[in-house]
Amino acid sequence: MKVYKYGANVDTDVIIPARHLNDPSPAALASHCMEDIDPQFASTVEAGDIIVAGPNFGCGSSREHAPLAIKSCGVKCVIAPSFARIFYRNSINIGLPIVECPQAAEEIQAGDQVEVDFATGVITDVTTGKSYQAAPFPEFIDGIIKSGGLLNSLKARGVAK
């Protein structure tokens, strides 16, 4: 559950550069994740790790490959003060947990051991002993998450053939 920490405006081109979008398989995306700002990331990240970053995380392109790459690396959650809106939608839709919490994003440091309780929105930095309360998802969005993503929620409603 270790933390990788990045600055403001982490864009989708550094999360997964466009030169790698010609292969959208999860394994291929995971192998190039973050390579233009952190060449060590893909080889050192482990299942359950967490990304903490500055504001406007995921800005730029609409490529769903970006949250897919992060999810495919086994990253459990991204914590930031704010997310670019298309990245936010995409993460909800594919089931990558993202948490908006400015104080946690500022104070949690790289390498800290962090736990997140998605039911309560409580983030605990085990290394420092500090905990933070993240903003809850609106009910509608929470419903999408609980159905297992957008397409499952639509099927449950019977709105498509």
Binding site: N9, V14, N22, N56, S62, P67, L151, K161
Partner: protein, 418 residues
């Protein structure tokens, strides 16, 4: 409390009398767009979810523009997947090599977006159609799959920033300078979760191509959309292209805006965005003389006929500097033909520029102008992120066609007014 243009369009599309900022709604869609990178992922999700039919074969557009004509086997496989899906579902608006253009130049040209409509696209620059007084915004591939299956999508109604334009642009200053100036003023998250609502007497002086460029880069300020009022120029543009009823929405007098930004068009200078964020803006004179290796003129931001005319006016009778590779990419086949008729292609080739068939190509570092280590490009595209156009140490300077063409001749960043 009144509503903005965006709020009125969303209210109507949701079948509601009114909406409030922050309200979650489900809106009926007029057009769903995807390209060769995002559509295959959407198709996989669509099929994995067990959907068997699209909601309306006439209201989906698939444009193979990013890596095409295909740059490698993997990209060819993606196009094959999109092509087979388009044929299987008899998608009316499927554009393959020979008909395709850069999607956000192509859709307005083909009359596929109109005032008052709701258009979503699995491409962040879908916000371009705000220039026509439509609500349009970028989505991801799973959203595209849902939209193709149902014709519906959820939105959070955005609050708004009013951008009041005054005066008139000076020579060699264009829509690109307006939007770069605005992004420099408010930052790359300055309009996060908000709409940019353009207004004021200065709007009338802007050509449709200027408006497309401005709306196109609303996303670079984090905006959900960037919308212009509908006027005579809009109606003239859609006349002969759009053959269905459409509605021009007007913002209420008492519409509520989070803030207002006033831009005096008369005072704007040619503006560039330095690496590695579109908000790192400078007026061109501050960075003139910086050596460059490449110039790219094209893209959904600046590959339209007025952009090519502006570049040609500067390149005519001149030569591209020996140390510079100048690549010019008209955004659609119609624009290529028009440029040929006007003699622009001849001017470019005589100047020593390479002219390409339409493609997004170098804008995203796909092909047709990828940079090596340490190289620098002046580009009329929309993003200058780290590694955007090639090697992680390469640099992109965003600029207008005027600045790009002047820089191509000078061999360094140059002011087109000199």
């Amino acid at each position: 409390m009144g509503m903005t243009m965006t709020q009125k369009i969303l209210a109507k599309a949701a079948g509601l009398d009114r909406v409030e900022p922050g309200q979650l709604i489900e809106a009926r869609l007029n057009m769903v767009l995807g390209n060769d990178i995002t559509t295959p992922v959407a198709i996989t999700e669509f099929e994995k979810a067990g959907f068997t039919q699209v909601f309306d074969k006439d209201k989906i557009a698939i444009v193979l523009d990013h890596y095409t004509p295909c740059k490698d086997i993997k990209s060819a496989q993606l196009c094959l997947q999109a092509r087979e899906f388009a044929h299987k579902h008899s998608i009316t608006n499927f554009f393959d090599v020979g008909q395709m253009g850069v999607e956000h130049a192509l859709l307005p040209e083909k009359g596929l977006c109109a005032p008052g409509e709701v258009i979503v696209g699995a491409d962040s620059h879908t916000c371009t159609y705000g220039a026509l007084g439509a609500f349009s915004t970028g989505i991801g591939s799973t959203d595209m799959a849902a939209a193709m299956a149902t014709g519906l999508l959820w939105f959070k109604v955005p609050s708004a920033i009013k951008v009041t334009l005054k005066g008139k642009l000076q020579p060699h200053v264009s829509g690109k300078d307006v939007i770069l100036h605005l992004i420099g003023a408010i930052g790359v998250d300055g309009a996060l979760y908000q709409s940019l609502e353009f207004a004021g007497e200065g709007v009338a002086s802007l050509s449709m191509d200027d408006r497309f460029t401005i709306s196109n880069m609303a996303i670079e300020a984090g905006g959900k959309n960037g919308i212009f009022p509908v006027d005579e120029k809009t109606m003239e543009y859609i006349n002969g292209r759009v053959n269905r009823p459409c509605e021009a929405f007007v913002a209420d007098e008492d519409a509520v805006y989070d803030s207002e930004i006033i831009i005096d068009l008369d005072k704007l200078e040619p503006t560039v965005a330095m690496p590695h964020l579109p908000e790192n803006t400078k007026v061109v004179s501050q960075v003139a003389g910086l050596p460059i290796n490449q110039v790219v003129i094209g893209s959904c931001t600046n590959g339209r006929i007025s952009d090519l005319r502006a570049a040609a006016a500067i390149l005519k009778g001149k030569k591209v500097a020996p140390n510079v590779r100048c690549i010019i990419i008209p955004a659609t086949q119609e624009i290529v033909l028009q440029a040929m008729k006007e003699g622009l292609i001849e001017i470019f080739i005589e100047a020593g520029a390479a002219v390409s068939t339409p493609t997004c190509g170098p804008c995203l570092g796909g092909h047709m102008g990828v940079m090596a280590q340490g190289e620098r490009t002046v580009s009329t595209t929309n993003r200058n992120f780290v590694g955007r156009m090639g090697h992680v140490s390469s640099e992109v300077i965003l600029a207008s066609p005027d600045v790009a063409a002047a820089s191509a001749i000078a061999g360094c960043v140059a002011d087109p007014r000199k």
